[in-house]
């Protein structure tokens, strides 16, 4: 199996006339945690959403260039297939409010019309919740609705929901910016464990988080991928001036 799972070549994305992602070329190695950071409006979230083809849901959104997963162009596949291989966790924890925790975890299967035996469903729910370290906390309240959970627990529930679909890649769009510090810490702890089974791409506003959790870091600025290297290198010895300025807090 090749070691690069996601590649983008000459990738551009726009909202109408607004060109927000410019000529991005990036190779994402398998089972790594990649942090994508940059100031507001730099295009990092837009690029992330292009990877699982959520960008095109917005009217007026266009893109060109290639993004491949396992050397297969995602724009030749139907978006549903792309999203089954590449899961996403959003900024605000968004468990489905009228479903129980159990039903939330396997919501992906119900939405895709996949029927499973009860034993199979139980197995998936347990495995997914264990993977996000939530099983012990909720195993006795699986049939309750998820709204009583704390913010951090809800976000982990959303990660479990994404993980239940057994994707190869997990995209995170500022997953802890709506959480308190303790919840943030529990979610960050997960990243390290998750990377054994998945490749993680995490967009973050928080430089320190990028430094803490990732193997490689990509720095976006004004739509361009300015620098992409091992995290240690980016933060101790950046090659580009703009990266240097961002890290030292000249702008944020």
């Amino acid at each position: 199996m090749e070691s690069t799972i996601i590649k983008s070549r000459k990738f551009n994305a726009s909202f109408g006339a607004n060109h927000v992602v410019k000529n991005v070329n990036i190779d994402v190695p398998r089972n790594n945690v990649i942090a994508v950071m940059g100031p507001s409006g730099c295009g990092k979230t837009t690029f992330l959403r292009c990877i699982n083809r959520m960008h095109e849901l917005i009217p007026g959104a266009v893109c060109n260039g290639t993004i491949t997963i396992n050397d297969e162009d995602i724009y030749t596949m139907h978006p549903i297939f792309v999203r089954l291989k590449i899961g996403m966790v959003f900024q605000r924890p968004n468990p489905f409010p009228n479903l129980s925790i159990y039903d939330n975890v396997i919501a992906g299967y119900k939405l895709n019309g996949i029927k499973l035996a009860k034993a199979e469903k139980d197995r998936i729910v347990e495995t997914s919740l264990k993977r996000v370290a939530l099983w012990e906390e909720v195993k006795d309240s699986l049939l309750k609705k998820g709204t009583f959970l704390s913010g951090g627990q809800q976000q982990r529930l959303c990660i479990a929901r994404a993980v239940a679909m057994e994707p190869e890649v997990l995209l995170f769009d500022e997953p802890t910016s709506a959480l308190d510090p303790i919840s943030t810490a529990t979610v960050e702890d997960l990243f390290h464990e998750l990377k054994a089974n998945y490749t993680l791409i995490i967009v973050t506003h928080n430089m320190q988080q990028a430094a803490r959790v990732s193997d490689k870091t990509a720095f976006f600025y004004m739509g361009e991928l300015v620098e992409y290297d091992q995290t240690k290198t980016i933060f101790t010895n950046p090659k580009d001036d703009r990266t240097q300025n961002y890290i030292t807090g000249r702008f944020s």
């Binding site: 849901l57 549903i80 939405l111 895709n112 679909m165």
Partner: protein
């Protein structure tokens, strides 16, 4: 409180000041009195509304008493309505009301839900959406007597043709079915408008979560939007039902006005509202009139309860 003292004979600045102060004080007291009167007027108007409703209920009850006392429960079960012979069985009208309202609801629900989903999710903005939204609201604005007249001229002959094709013995065209048809058109806007605003309120991030898991648009609507808006859609349907139960003119003109228990859906009949409209001015006996009022009381209670439940659900949802 200073009353008017005679104007002093001398006018110096000091004297003028005193007069001015007295004037100001008088004006202040006047304003306070007006203010109090105004506040009382507000309270009275609030009270007036409550008294109005209580008065309506009271009048309906007291005027129904003769009928209630005389007829008791035979009123509800009796299926013969023959005022000439002093027989007042209102079951045909209860049946007529239930049949027309629920049939109308059944027919209208797919249409109002379609509008709600179409305008709430697929096309919330745009010129076409505005056009459709306004058209739906205009459906509610057309007076019911015009629906009745148009129904008589256009719908009834069509239904008559259908009845002939079905081989019915007495193809009248008027009847419960026609009344339900016209009613179903009239009640579409109520469930549609409320449904639309409920569906528009579904938070975008929930929809995104569904798409992110690989759902198609319809799957997202079916598994996320509709369950989320379940109570709101139900409240809209209740409002449509309340409207159907109370509708009088169009139904009166199309239902055939027969007090005999309808044998099938195409038979002529009467609803509680239509029999009141038709026979009120002819009710020459006290019991006759009282029986009609009792129908009015029943109609009042049922529609009020349904509307209040609907409103309470809406209040709970919009205040969350």
């Amino acid at each position: 409180m200073p009353t008017s003292l005679p104007a002093p004979a001398i006018s110096t600045p000091a004297v003028r000041d005193t007069v001015n102060i007295r004037r100001r004080i008088r004006r202040a007291f006047r304003q306070i009195r007006t203010e109090t009167v105004f506040k009382q007027a507000l309270v009275i108007s609030g009270l007036l509304l409550v008294i109005l409703v209580l008065g309506i209920l009271l009048t309906l009850i007291t005027q129904s008493v003769p009928s209630i006392r005389l007829l008791g429960f035979r009123f509800i079960w009796g299926s013969t309505w023959n005022p000439v012979k002093d027989v007042y069985g209102a079951f045909p009208f209860l049946l007529g009301t239930l049949l027309t309202s629920f049939l109308a609801l059944l027919i209208s629900i797919p249409f109002s839900m379609a509008i709600a989903i179409f305008l709430g999710d697929y096309y919330p903005t745009g010129w076409f959406a505005s056009l459709l939204k306004n058209a739906v609201e205009l459906i509610a604005a057309v007076p019911s007597v015009i629906y009745g007249f148009w129904g008589l001229a256009v719908l009834v002959p069509m239904v008559r043709g259908l009845e002939v094709r079905l081989g019915m013995q007495q193809p009248l065209g008027v009847g419960i079915f026609s009344a339900s048809l016209i009613l179903s058109i009239m009640i579409i806007p109520y469930a549609a408008s409320l449904g639309r605003s409920m569906i528009q309120m579904v938070p975008g991030h929930l929809k995104e979560a569904a798409y992110g898991l690989g759902a198609t648009r319809w799957e997202m609507i079916r598994h996320v939007v509709l369950p989320y808006t379940r109570s709101g859609l139900f409240a809209g349907i209740l409002l449509s039902l309340g409207r159907a139960l109370g509708e009088t003119m169009a139904v009166t003109m199309i239902i055939g006005n027969s007090s005999i228990l309808p044998k099938n859906l195409f038979a002529p009949g009467n609803t509680m509202a239509s029999v009141i409209a038709n026979e009120f001015t002819e009710a020459d006996k006290t019991v006759y009139l009282s029986a009609l009022i009792e129908l009015g009381l029943a109609l009042f209670l049922v529609t009020v309860v349904i509307n209040i439940i609907g409103k309470k659900i809406i209040d709970r949802l919009t205040n969350d």
